[in-house]
Protein backbone atom coordinates (compact mmCIF):
# COMPACT_ATOMS: atom_id res chain seq x y z
CA UNK A 1 0.00 0.00 0.00
CA UNK A 2 0.96 3.64 -0.39
CA UNK A 3 0.99 5.10 3.12
CA UNK A 4 0.27 8.65 1.97
CA UNK A 5 -2.88 9.03 -0.14
CA UNK A 6 -2.13 9.87 -3.77
CA UNK A 7 -1.95 13.61 -4.32
CA UNK A 8 -2.69 14.39 -0.68
CA UNK A 9 -1.63 17.77 0.64
CA UNK A 10 -2.02 18.36 4.36
CA UNK A 11 -1.07 16.64 7.60
CA UNK A 12 -1.02 13.04 8.75
CA UNK A 13 -0.91 12.41 12.47
CA UNK A 14 -0.33 9.02 14.11
CA UNK A 15 -1.35 8.64 17.76
CA UNK A 16 -2.32 6.08 20.33
CA UNK A 17 -4.57 6.53 23.32
CA UNK A 18 -2.14 4.74 25.58
CA UNK A 19 0.28 7.68 25.41
CA UNK A 20 0.25 10.58 27.86
CA UNK A 21 1.50 13.04 25.29
CA UNK A 22 -1.18 12.06 22.77
CA UNK A 23 -3.84 12.56 25.46
CA UNK A 24 -2.26 15.82 26.54
CA UNK A 25 -2.52 17.33 23.05
CA UNK A 26 -6.03 16.02 22.29
CA UNK A 27 -7.49 19.52 22.13
CA UNK A 28 -4.68 20.78 19.91
CA UNK A 29 -5.34 17.92 17.48
CA UNK A 30 -8.99 18.88 17.23
CA UNK A 31 -7.99 22.53 16.77
CA UNK A 32 -5.60 21.58 13.97
CA UNK A 33 -8.26 19.57 12.17
CA UNK A 34 -10.73 22.46 12.37
CA UNK A 35 -8.26 24.77 10.72
CA UNK A 36 -7.33 22.60 7.76
CA UNK A 37 -6.46 19.26 6.30
CA UNK A 38 -5.55 16.70 8.93
CA UNK A 39 -5.99 12.94 8.85
CA UNK A 40 -5.51 11.17 12.14
CA UNK A 41 -4.54 7.53 12.54
CA UNK A 42 -4.98 5.79 15.87
CA UNK A 43 -2.98 2.71 16.75
CA UNK A 44 -5.12 1.45 19.61
CA UNK A 45 -8.54 3.12 19.78
CA UNK A 46 -10.45 4.55 16.82
CA UNK A 47 -12.61 6.61 19.27
CA UNK A 48 -9.48 8.57 20.19
CA UNK A 49 -8.80 11.49 19.97
CA UNK A 50 -12.19 12.89 20.97
CA UNK A 51 -13.65 15.57 18.76
CA UNK A 52 -11.71 14.43 15.66
CA UNK A 53 -13.47 13.26 12.51
CA UNK A 54 -12.70 10.14 10.48
CA UNK A 55 -10.01 8.68 12.67
CA UNK A 56 -8.35 5.84 10.80
CA UNK A 57 -8.43 2.58 12.71
CA UNK A 58 -4.87 1.24 12.54
CA UNK A 59 -5.02 -1.40 15.24
CA UNK A 60 -3.49 -3.81 12.69
CA UNK A 61 -0.62 -1.28 12.34
CA UNK A 62 -0.41 -1.57 8.57
CA UNK A 63 -0.29 2.16 7.94
CA UNK A 64 2.03 2.78 10.89
CA UNK A 65 4.37 0.11 9.53
CA UNK A 66 4.45 1.64 6.05
CA UNK A 67 4.96 5.14 7.46
CA UNK A 68 7.90 3.86 9.56
CA UNK A 69 6.40 5.28 12.75
CA UNK A 70 8.66 4.82 15.77
CA UNK A 71 7.16 7.37 18.14
CA UNK A 72 3.67 8.72 18.77
CA UNK A 73 2.54 11.34 18.19
CA UNK A 74 4.18 11.73 14.78
CA UNK A 75 3.00 14.62 12.64
CA UNK A 76 3.82 14.39 8.93
CA UNK A 77 3.47 17.29 6.51
CA UNK A 78 2.61 16.13 2.97
CA UNK A 79 2.57 17.90 -0.36
CA UNK A 80 1.05 16.24 -3.42
CA UNK A 81 1.31 12.82 -1.81
CA UNK A 82 4.95 13.24 -0.81
CA UNK A 83 6.27 13.61 2.73
CA UNK A 84 7.91 16.98 3.37
CA UNK A 85 8.74 16.90 7.06
CA UNK A 86 7.85 15.01 10.22
CA UNK A 87 7.77 15.93 13.90
CA UNK A 88 7.88 13.37 16.70
CA UNK A 89 6.48 14.09 20.15
CA UNK A 90 5.04 17.47 21.07
CA UNK A 91 7.02 20.67 20.68
CA UNK A 92 4.69 23.67 20.65
CA UNK A 93 7.12 25.82 18.76
CA UNK A 94 7.80 23.25 16.07
CA UNK A 95 4.12 22.34 15.65
CA UNK A 96 3.21 26.02 15.33
CA UNK A 97 5.91 26.56 12.74
CA UNK A 98 5.00 23.50 10.68
CA UNK A 99 1.23 24.03 10.81
CA UNK A 100 1.39 27.78 10.47
CA UNK A 101 -1.08 28.20 13.39
CA UNK A 102 0.54 30.66 15.81
CA UNK A 103 -1.99 30.00 18.59
CA UNK A 104 -1.82 26.20 18.50
CA UNK A 105 -1.74 24.59 21.97
CA UNK A 106 -1.69 27.78 23.97
CA UNK A 107 -2.71 25.94 27.16
CA UNK A 108 -0.18 23.16 26.64
CA UNK A 109 3.34 22.83 27.93
CA UNK A 110 6.12 23.78 25.54
CA UNK A 111 7.40 20.29 25.22
CA UNK A 112 6.39 16.71 25.90
CA UNK A 113 8.28 13.70 24.50
CA UNK A 114 6.23 11.08 22.76
CA UNK A 115 5.86 7.39 23.52
CA UNK A 116 7.03 4.34 21.60
CA UNK A 117 4.87 3.45 18.64
CA UNK A 118 3.12 0.09 18.92
CA UNK A 119 5.15 -0.97 15.88
CA UNK A 120 8.32 -1.02 17.96
CA UNK A 121 7.00 -3.25 20.72
CA UNK A 122 9.28 -6.28 21.13
CA UNK A 123 8.99 -8.69 18.22
CA UNK A 124 6.32 -6.57 16.51
CA UNK A 125 8.42 -5.35 13.58
CA UNK A 126 9.17 -8.92 12.51
CA UNK A 127 5.47 -9.78 12.59
CA UNK A 128 4.60 -6.65 10.62
CA UNK A 129 7.43 -7.18 8.15
CA UNK A 130 6.01 -10.61 7.51
CA UNK A 131 2.40 -9.39 7.16
CA UNK A 132 2.90 -6.10 5.33
CA UNK A 133 6.49 -6.08 4.08
CA UNK A 134 7.82 -6.80 0.62
CA UNK A 135 9.44 -10.07 1.64
CA UNK A 136 7.39 -13.02 0.53
CA UNK A 137 8.02 -16.38 2.10
CA UNK A 138 7.26 -19.31 -0.14
CA UNK A 139 7.33 -22.21 2.30
CA UNK A 140 4.17 -24.18 2.87
CA UNK A 141 2.26 -23.05 5.97
CA UNK A 142 1.39 -25.63 8.56
CA UNK A 143 -1.39 -24.71 10.97
CA UNK A 144 -1.04 -25.84 14.53
CA UNK A 145 -4.35 -26.18 16.36
CA UNK A 146 -4.83 -24.69 19.84
CA UNK A 147 -4.94 -28.12 21.46
CA UNK A 148 -1.91 -29.39 19.57
CA UNK A 149 1.60 -29.30 21.05
CA UNK A 150 3.81 -27.76 18.39
CA UNK A 151 6.90 -29.52 19.76
CA UNK A 152 5.28 -32.93 19.47
CA UNK A 153 4.02 -32.02 16.00
CA UNK A 154 7.58 -31.29 14.86
CA UNK A 155 8.79 -34.62 16.23
CA UNK A 156 5.94 -36.47 14.59
CA UNK A 157 6.71 -34.93 11.24
CA UNK A 158 10.25 -36.24 11.47
CA UNK A 159 11.96 -32.83 11.48
CA UNK A 160 14.00 -33.37 14.63
CA UNK A 161 17.42 -34.91 15.14
CA UNK A 162 16.09 -36.18 18.46
CA UNK A 163 16.48 -32.92 20.37
CA UNK A 164 13.80 -30.24 20.79
CA UNK A 165 13.42 -27.68 18.00
CA UNK A 166 12.48 -24.01 18.07
CA UNK A 167 9.15 -23.72 16.19
CA UNK A 168 9.77 -21.89 12.88
CA UNK A 169 7.00 -19.33 13.16
CA UNK A 170 6.68 -16.64 10.52
CA UNK A 171 8.00 -13.89 12.78
CA UNK A 172 11.01 -15.95 13.91
CA UNK A 173 11.85 -16.75 10.30
CA UNK A 174 11.54 -13.08 9.35
CA UNK A 175 13.82 -12.08 12.22
CA UNK A 176 16.36 -14.73 11.20
CA UNK A 177 16.27 -13.51 7.59
CA UNK A 178 17.42 -10.15 8.93
CA UNK A 179 20.80 -11.82 9.48
CA UNK A 180 21.56 -11.87 5.77
CA UNK A 181 21.23 -9.49 2.86
CA UNK A 182 20.55 -12.40 0.52
CA UNK A 183 17.07 -12.77 -0.95
CA UNK A 184 14.92 -15.54 0.52
CA UNK A 185 14.40 -17.15 -2.89
CA UNK A 186 18.10 -17.28 -3.78
CA UNK A 187 19.30 -20.84 -4.37
CA UNK A 188 22.08 -21.91 -2.01
CA UNK A 189 22.66 -25.38 -3.39
CA UNK A 190 21.28 -28.77 -4.28
CA UNK A 191 20.95 -30.88 -1.15
CA UNK A 192 21.50 -34.62 -1.21
CA UNK A 193 20.17 -37.24 -1.12
CA UNK A 194 16.95 -35.99 -2.71
CA UNK A 195 18.87 -33.46 -4.83
CA UNK A 196 16.47 -30.81 -3.57
CA UNK A 197 16.98 -27.19 -4.57
CA UNK A 198 17.57 -25.31 -1.35
CA UNK A 199 16.74 -21.62 -0.96
CA UNK A 200 17.99 -19.11 1.58
CA UNK A 201 14.48 -19.31 3.06
CA UNK A 202 14.68 -23.07 3.69
CA UNK A 203 18.11 -22.70 5.31
CA UNK A 204 16.66 -19.90 7.45
CA UNK A 205 13.74 -22.04 8.63
CA UNK A 206 16.11 -24.83 9.65
CA UNK A 207 18.44 -22.34 11.34
CA UNK A 208 15.51 -21.15 13.45
CA UNK A 209 14.71 -24.73 14.42
CA UNK A 210 18.36 -25.39 15.31
CA UNK A 211 18.34 -22.47 17.75
CA UNK A 212 20.56 -20.07 15.80
CA UNK A 213 20.59 -16.30 16.24
CA UNK A 214 20.20 -14.15 13.10
CA UNK A 215 23.87 -13.19 13.13
CA UNK A 216 24.84 -16.86 12.70
CA UNK A 217 22.86 -17.18 9.47
CA UNK A 218 25.69 -16.14 7.10
CA UNK A 219 27.86 -18.90 8.60
CA UNK A 220 25.09 -21.46 8.20
CA UNK A 221 24.50 -20.38 4.60
CA UNK A 222 28.21 -20.70 3.82
CA UNK A 223 28.30 -24.13 5.44
CA UNK A 224 25.36 -25.32 3.34
CA UNK A 225 26.95 -23.88 0.23
CA UNK A 226 30.22 -25.70 1.01
CA UNK A 227 28.43 -28.98 1.72
CA UNK A 228 26.87 -28.83 -1.75
CA UNK A 229 30.22 -28.59 -3.56
CA UNK A 230 30.90 -31.71 -5.56
CA UNK A 231 34.36 -32.28 -4.08
CA UNK A 232 32.93 -32.40 -0.56
CA UNK A 233 30.74 -35.34 -1.61
CA UNK A 234 27.96 -34.84 0.93
CA UNK A 235 25.87 -37.58 -0.68
CA UNK A 236 28.44 -40.28 -0.08
CA UNK A 237 29.29 -38.89 3.35
CA UNK A 238 25.65 -39.25 4.31
CA UNK A 239 25.22 -42.70 2.81
CA UNK A 240 28.39 -44.23 4.23
CA UNK A 241 28.33 -46.91 6.92
CA UNK A 242 31.39 -45.13 8.41
CA UNK A 243 31.21 -42.68 11.35
CA UNK A 244 31.78 -39.38 9.61
CA UNK A 245 29.70 -36.26 9.27
CA UNK A 246 30.34 -32.68 8.15
CA UNK A 247 32.48 -30.70 10.63
CA UNK A 248 32.40 -26.91 10.30
CA UNK A 249 35.55 -24.95 11.17
CA UNK A 250 35.16 -21.16 11.21
CA UNK A 251 37.96 -18.66 10.57
CA UNK A 252 38.17 -14.89 10.44
CA UNK A 253 36.67 -11.86 12.19
CA UNK A 254 33.17 -13.33 12.34
CA UNK A 255 34.35 -15.68 15.10
CA UNK A 256 34.34 -12.92 17.69
CA UNK A 257 31.55 -10.92 16.04
CA UNK A 258 29.06 -13.71 16.72
CA UNK A 259 30.68 -15.11 19.87
CA UNK A 260 31.91 -18.51 18.75
CA UNK A 261 33.91 -20.21 21.49
CA UNK A 262 37.60 -20.83 20.71
CA UNK A 263 38.58 -21.13 24.36
CA UNK A 264 37.82 -23.58 27.17
CA UNK A 265 35.70 -26.52 25.97
CA UNK A 266 35.86 -25.26 22.37
CA UNK A 267 34.77 -28.63 21.00
CA UNK A 268 32.23 -29.22 23.74
CA UNK A 269 28.82 -28.03 24.79
CA UNK A 270 27.68 -24.74 26.27
CA UNK A 271 28.11 -22.11 23.55
CA UNK A 272 25.08 -21.28 21.47
CA UNK A 273 26.93 -20.48 18.24
CA UNK A 274 29.14 -23.58 18.38
CA UNK A 275 26.17 -25.79 19.22
CA UNK A 276 23.62 -24.52 16.73
CA UNK A 277 25.50 -23.69 13.50
CA UNK A 278 26.58 -27.26 12.81
CA UNK A 279 23.15 -28.46 13.86
CA UNK A 280 21.48 -26.13 11.37
CA UNK A 281 23.56 -27.65 8.56
CA UNK A 282 22.56 -31.16 9.63
CA UNK A 283 18.89 -30.16 9.84
CA UNK A 284 19.06 -28.79 6.28
CA UNK A 285 20.43 -32.13 5.10
CA UNK A 286 17.77 -33.97 7.07
CA UNK A 287 14.77 -31.85 6.17
CA UNK A 288 15.51 -30.28 2.81
CA UNK A 289 17.66 -33.11 1.46
CA UNK A 290 15.71 -35.92 3.10
CA UNK A 291 18.87 -37.52 4.55
CA UNK A 292 17.88 -39.42 7.69
CA UNK A 293 19.50 -42.16 9.77
CA UNK A 294 18.13 -45.51 8.69
CA UNK A 295 17.17 -43.96 5.36
CA UNK A 296 20.06 -42.89 3.18
CA UNK A 297 22.24 -42.32 6.28
CA UNK A 298 23.54 -45.88 6.77
CA UNK A 299 26.13 -45.28 9.51
CA UNK A 300 26.85 -48.43 11.50
CA UNK A 301 27.57 -46.39 14.64
CA UNK A 302 27.66 -42.70 13.77
CA UNK A 303 29.02 -40.37 16.43
CA UNK A 304 27.61 -37.61 18.68
CA UNK A 305 29.07 -34.85 16.48
CA UNK A 306 26.57 -35.76 13.79
CA UNK A 307 23.96 -33.73 15.68
CA UNK A 308 26.14 -30.81 14.65
CA UNK A 309 29.85 -30.09 14.94
CA UNK A 310 31.14 -26.54 14.60
CA UNK A 311 34.01 -24.71 16.23
CA UNK A 312 36.32 -21.80 15.44
CA UNK A 313 40.08 -21.60 15.30
CA UNK A 314 41.82 -19.74 18.15
CA UNK A 315 43.47 -17.16 15.95
CA UNK A 316 44.54 -14.18 18.07
CA UNK A 317 47.49 -15.84 19.79
CA UNK A 318 48.31 -18.62 17.35
CA UNK A 319 51.94 -18.90 16.28
CA UNK A 320 50.88 -20.50 13.02
CA UNK A 321 48.87 -19.19 10.09
CA UNK A 322 45.24 -20.22 10.37
CA UNK A 323 43.62 -23.05 8.49
CA UNK A 324 41.91 -20.58 6.15
CA UNK A 325 45.13 -18.66 5.44
CA UNK A 326 46.89 -21.94 4.71
CA UNK A 327 44.09 -22.67 2.27
CA UNK A 328 44.56 -19.38 0.41
CA UNK A 329 42.27 -16.88 2.14
CA UNK A 330 43.22 -13.52 3.63
CA UNK A 331 43.19 -13.32 7.46
CA UNK A 332 40.45 -10.66 7.38
CA UNK A 333 38.17 -12.87 5.28
CA UNK A 334 35.73 -14.93 7.31
CA UNK A 335 35.38 -18.48 6.04
CA UNK A 336 33.98 -21.88 6.79
CA UNK A 337 35.91 -25.05 6.09
CA UNK A 338 34.07 -28.34 5.96
CA UNK A 339 35.84 -31.54 6.86
CA UNK A 340 34.29 -35.00 6.73
CA UNK A 341 35.24 -36.29 10.15
CA UNK A 342 34.50 -38.46 13.13
CA UNK A 343 34.67 -38.01 16.90
CA UNK A 344 37.47 -36.50 18.95
CA UNK A 345 40.39 -38.67 20.02
CA UNK A 346 42.56 -37.12 22.72
CA UNK A 347 46.36 -37.24 22.87
CA UNK A 348 48.07 -36.65 26.21
CA UNK A 349 51.68 -35.49 26.21
CA UNK A 350 52.66 -33.61 29.36
CA UNK A 351 56.36 -34.31 29.14
CA UNK A 352 57.53 -33.09 25.74
CA UNK A 353 59.24 -29.70 25.95
CA UNK A 354 60.99 -29.84 22.62
CA UNK A 355 59.23 -30.07 19.29
CA UNK A 356 60.73 -33.28 17.92
CA UNK A 357 59.48 -35.26 20.89
CA UNK A 358 56.03 -33.73 20.68
CA UNK A 359 55.84 -34.32 16.93
CA UNK A 360 56.67 -37.99 17.42
CA UNK A 361 53.96 -38.17 20.11
CA UNK A 362 51.31 -36.68 17.87
CA UNK A 363 52.37 -38.90 14.98
CA UNK A 364 51.83 -42.05 17.07
CA UNK A 365 48.11 -41.35 17.30
CA UNK A 366 47.81 -39.91 13.80
CA UNK A 367 49.15 -43.19 12.43
CA UNK A 368 46.16 -45.05 13.88
CA UNK A 369 43.51 -43.00 12.06
CA UNK A 370 41.27 -45.33 10.06
CA UNK A 371 43.65 -48.21 10.79
CA UNK A 372 47.30 -48.35 11.81
CA UNK A 373 48.11 -50.24 8.62
CA UNK A 374 46.04 -48.23 6.13
CA UNK A 375 48.09 -45.46 4.55
CA UNK A 376 47.86 -43.05 1.65
CA UNK A 377 44.17 -42.23 1.42
CA UNK A 378 43.61 -41.55 5.12
CA UNK A 379 42.67 -38.06 6.29
CA UNK A 380 42.54 -36.35 9.66
CA UNK A 381 42.34 -33.04 11.44
CA UNK A 382 44.89 -32.37 14.15
CA UNK A 383 43.74 -29.94 16.83
CA UNK A 384 46.71 -28.35 18.58
CA UNK A 385 45.93 -26.66 21.91
CA UNK A 386 47.72 -23.54 23.18
CA UNK A 387 49.99 -25.45 25.58
CA UNK A 388 51.24 -27.74 22.84
CA UNK A 389 51.52 -24.79 20.46
CA UNK A 390 53.85 -23.14 23.00
CA UNK A 391 56.41 -25.93 22.50
CA UNK A 392 56.55 -25.20 18.76
CA UNK A 393 56.53 -21.44 19.27
CA UNK A 394 59.42 -21.52 21.73
CA UNK A 395 61.45 -23.61 19.30
CA UNK A 396 60.54 -21.33 16.37
CA UNK A 397 58.92 -24.09 14.35
CA UNK A 398 56.66 -22.79 11.59
CA UNK A 399 53.58 -24.73 10.54
CA UNK A 400 55.40 -25.82 7.37
CA UNK A 401 58.35 -27.08 9.40
CA UNK A 402 56.01 -29.01 11.68
CA UNK A 403 54.24 -30.58 8.68
CA UNK A 404 57.59 -31.59 7.21
CA UNK A 405 58.79 -33.21 10.46
CA UNK A 406 55.43 -34.87 10.99
CA UNK A 407 55.51 -36.44 7.53
CA UNK A 408 58.91 -37.94 8.37
CA UNK A 409 57.40 -39.55 11.47
CA UNK A 410 54.51 -40.89 9.41
CA UNK A 411 56.62 -42.50 6.72
CA UNK A 412 56.83 -46.29 6.98
CA UNK A 413 58.17 -49.29 5.15
CA UNK A 414 55.27 -50.76 3.19
CA UNK A 415 56.39 -54.27 4.16
CA UNK A 416 55.17 -53.55 7.72
CA UNK A 417 51.80 -52.42 6.42
CA UNK A 418 50.77 -55.03 3.88
CA UNK A 419 47.90 -57.42 4.41
CA UNK A 420 48.95 -60.16 6.78
CA UNK A 421 51.90 -58.22 8.27
CA UNK A 422 51.90 -58.30 12.10
CA UNK A 423 49.44 -61.20 11.73
CA UNK A 424 46.65 -58.78 10.82
CA UNK A 425 44.71 -59.47 7.64
CA UNK A 426 43.84 -55.79 7.12
CA UNK A 427 46.48 -53.64 5.49
CA UNK A 428 47.90 -52.28 2.26
CA UNK A 429 48.03 -54.36 -0.94
CA UNK A 430 51.01 -56.68 -1.52
CA UNK A 431 52.36 -54.23 -4.08
CA UNK A 432 53.25 -51.83 -1.23
CA UNK A 433 55.95 -54.19 0.06
CA UNK A 434 59.41 -52.62 -0.19
CA UNK A 435 58.04 -49.11 -0.82
CA UNK A 436 57.98 -46.17 1.60
CA UNK A 437 54.45 -45.01 2.35
CA UNK A 438 53.25 -41.79 4.00
CA UNK A 439 50.10 -41.81 6.10
CA UNK A 440 48.31 -38.83 4.57
CA UNK A 441 48.00 -37.78 0.98
CA UNK A 442 47.91 -34.15 -0.23
CA UNK A 443 45.20 -32.18 1.63
CA UNK A 444 44.90 -35.22 3.89
CA UNK A 445 45.83 -33.50 7.16
CA UNK A 446 44.23 -30.29 8.41
CA UNK A 447 45.86 -28.53 11.37
CA UNK A 448 43.88 -26.17 13.60
CA UNK A 449 44.80 -24.30 16.80
CA UNK A 450 42.00 -23.99 19.32
CA UNK A 451 40.96 -24.58 22.93
CA UNK A 452 41.58 -23.38 26.47
CA UNK A 453 44.98 -22.22 27.62
CA UNK A 454 45.57 -25.01 30.16
CA UNK A 455 46.14 -28.65 29.28
CA UNK A 456 48.97 -30.36 27.44
CA UNK A 457 46.60 -32.29 25.24
CA UNK A 458 45.92 -32.23 21.57
CA UNK A 459 43.30 -34.10 19.60
CA UNK A 460 42.85 -35.99 16.39
CA UNK A 461 39.62 -36.09 14.45
CA UNK A 462 39.80 -38.96 12.02
CA UNK A 463 38.51 -38.37 8.51
CA UNK A 464 36.05 -40.36 6.46
CA UNK A 465 37.41 -43.62 5.08
CA UNK A 466 36.76 -42.40 1.54
CA UNK A 467 38.95 -39.39 0.87
CA UNK A 468 40.31 -37.55 -2.14
CA UNK A 469 38.79 -37.73 -5.61
CA UNK A 470 36.86 -40.93 -4.86
CA UNK A 471 35.35 -39.49 -1.70
CA UNK A 472 35.49 -36.21 0.18
CA UNK A 473 38.01 -33.38 -0.03
CA UNK A 474 37.90 -30.54 2.53
CA UNK A 475 36.33 -27.37 1.14
CA UNK A 476 36.63 -23.73 2.24
CA UNK A 477 34.24 -20.97 1.22
CA UNK A 478 34.03 -17.27 2.05
CA UNK A 479 31.19 -16.16 4.31
CA UNK A 480 29.00 -13.54 2.60
CA UNK A 481 26.98 -11.03 4.54
Amino acid sequence: MTPIPRGYSGFLLVVKKDCNTCQLIETAIAELQRSGALRVTSQDDPQFPAGVRDVKDDRELEQSYHLNIETVPTLIACQDGVEQERLVGWSREDWRRLTGIPSLGTDLPQFSPGCGSRTVEPGMLDKLAYRFGDTVLQARRIDVAEMEDVHELMYERGWSDGLPLVPPSEDRVMRMLGGTSRAPDEIVGVIPPDQALCTVEKVTINAVMAGCKPEYLPVVLAAVEAACLDEFCMHGLLATTYFSGPIVIVNGPIINEIGLNWSTNALGQGNRANSTIGRALQLVIRNVGGGKPGGVDRAALGQPGKVGFCFPEREHDSYWESLAVERGFAPEQSTVTLFAGDGVHGIADQKSREPKSLTRSLAMTLRTVKHGKLFGDASAMLIVTPEHMRVFREAGWSKARFREELDKCLNFDGSELIRGASHIAEGMPESSAGRRLTKFGPDGLLIVHTGGSAGMWSAVIGGWAATGAKGSTPVTVAIKS
Partner: protein, 91 residues
Protein backbone atom coordinates in the same frame (compact mmCIF):
# COMPACT_ATOMS: atom_id res chain seq x y z
CA UNK B 1 -4.08 -21.44 16.29
CA UNK B 2 -0.50 -20.75 15.30
CA UNK B 3 1.31 -21.24 12.02
CA UNK B 4 4.78 -22.60 11.33
CA UNK B 5 6.72 -22.89 8.10
CA UNK B 6 7.60 -26.19 6.48
CA UNK B 7 11.37 -26.82 6.74
CA UNK B 8 11.40 -29.65 4.20
CA UNK B 9 12.18 -29.70 0.49
CA UNK B 10 8.43 -30.05 -0.18
CA UNK B 11 9.27 -32.47 -2.97
CA UNK B 12 6.33 -34.82 -2.58
CA UNK B 13 6.74 -36.46 -5.96
CA UNK B 14 3.56 -37.60 -7.59
CA UNK B 15 3.13 -41.31 -7.00
CA UNK B 16 4.86 -43.20 -9.76
CA UNK B 17 3.79 -46.66 -10.83
CA UNK B 18 6.48 -49.26 -11.31
CA UNK B 19 7.19 -50.22 -14.86
CA UNK B 20 5.58 -53.57 -15.73
CA UNK B 21 7.88 -56.50 -14.91
CA UNK B 22 9.18 -58.41 -17.90
CA UNK B 23 7.61 -61.89 -18.17
CA UNK B 24 10.90 -63.30 -19.54
CA UNK B 25 14.38 -62.11 -20.48
CA UNK B 26 14.62 -63.85 -23.86
CA UNK B 27 15.54 -61.34 -26.55
CA UNK B 28 16.11 -58.57 -24.01
CA UNK B 29 19.28 -56.71 -23.06
CA UNK B 30 20.32 -56.75 -19.41
CA UNK B 31 22.57 -54.00 -18.04
CA UNK B 32 24.89 -54.90 -15.18
CA UNK B 33 25.93 -51.85 -13.19
CA UNK B 34 28.97 -51.95 -10.94
CA UNK B 35 28.96 -49.01 -8.50
CA UNK B 36 32.72 -49.44 -7.86
CA UNK B 37 32.44 -51.09 -4.46
CA UNK B 38 34.99 -53.86 -3.86
CA UNK B 39 33.97 -57.27 -5.26
CA UNK B 40 30.94 -55.95 -7.11
CA UNK B 41 32.69 -57.23 -10.22
CA UNK B 42 32.84 -60.77 -8.80
CA UNK B 43 29.08 -60.80 -8.31
CA UNK B 44 28.38 -59.32 -11.73
CA UNK B 45 30.83 -61.67 -13.48
CA UNK B 46 28.81 -64.61 -12.19
CA UNK B 47 25.54 -63.03 -13.28
CA UNK B 48 26.98 -62.39 -16.70
CA UNK B 49 27.97 -66.06 -16.99
CA UNK B 50 24.48 -67.22 -16.00
CA UNK B 51 22.70 -64.81 -18.30
CA UNK B 52 25.10 -65.50 -21.17
CA UNK B 53 24.51 -69.23 -20.82
CA UNK B 54 20.80 -68.52 -21.35
CA UNK B 55 21.58 -66.58 -24.52
CA UNK B 56 20.65 -63.24 -23.01
CA UNK B 57 22.49 -60.11 -24.15
CA UNK B 58 24.43 -58.38 -21.38
CA UNK B 59 26.08 -54.98 -21.19
CA UNK B 60 28.42 -53.92 -18.41
CA UNK B 61 28.52 -50.45 -16.83
CA UNK B 62 30.45 -48.88 -14.00
CA UNK B 63 30.00 -45.75 -11.89
CA UNK B 64 33.26 -43.79 -11.39
CA UNK B 65 32.81 -43.96 -7.60
CA UNK B 66 30.22 -45.40 -5.24
CA UNK B 67 30.25 -42.20 -3.15
CA UNK B 68 28.48 -40.12 -5.76
CA UNK B 69 25.25 -40.58 -7.66
CA UNK B 70 25.56 -41.97 -11.21
CA UNK B 71 26.45 -39.37 -13.85
CA UNK B 72 23.47 -38.33 -15.97
CA UNK B 73 25.14 -39.58 -19.17
CA UNK B 74 25.59 -43.04 -17.70
CA UNK B 75 21.95 -43.22 -16.65
CA UNK B 76 20.88 -42.10 -20.10
CA UNK B 77 23.12 -44.68 -21.78
CA UNK B 78 21.71 -47.52 -19.67
CA UNK B 79 18.12 -46.43 -20.26
CA UNK B 80 18.76 -46.21 -23.99
CA UNK B 81 20.54 -49.54 -24.43
CA UNK B 82 18.97 -51.89 -21.90
CA UNK B 83 15.58 -53.34 -21.05
CA UNK B 84 16.45 -54.08 -17.46
CA UNK B 85 19.35 -53.27 -15.17
CA UNK B 86 20.86 -55.13 -12.24
CA UNK B 87 22.97 -53.10 -9.83
CA UNK B 88 25.62 -54.58 -7.53
CA UNK B 89 25.29 -52.41 -4.44
CA UNK B 90 27.42 -53.41 -1.47
CA UNK B 91 30.82 -54.95 -0.94
Amino acid sequence: MSTILDPTGELQPARRERLPRLPELAGKTVGLLDISKPRGDVFLDRLEQHLGAGGIAVRRYQKPTFTRIAPADLKFQIARDCDVVIEALAD
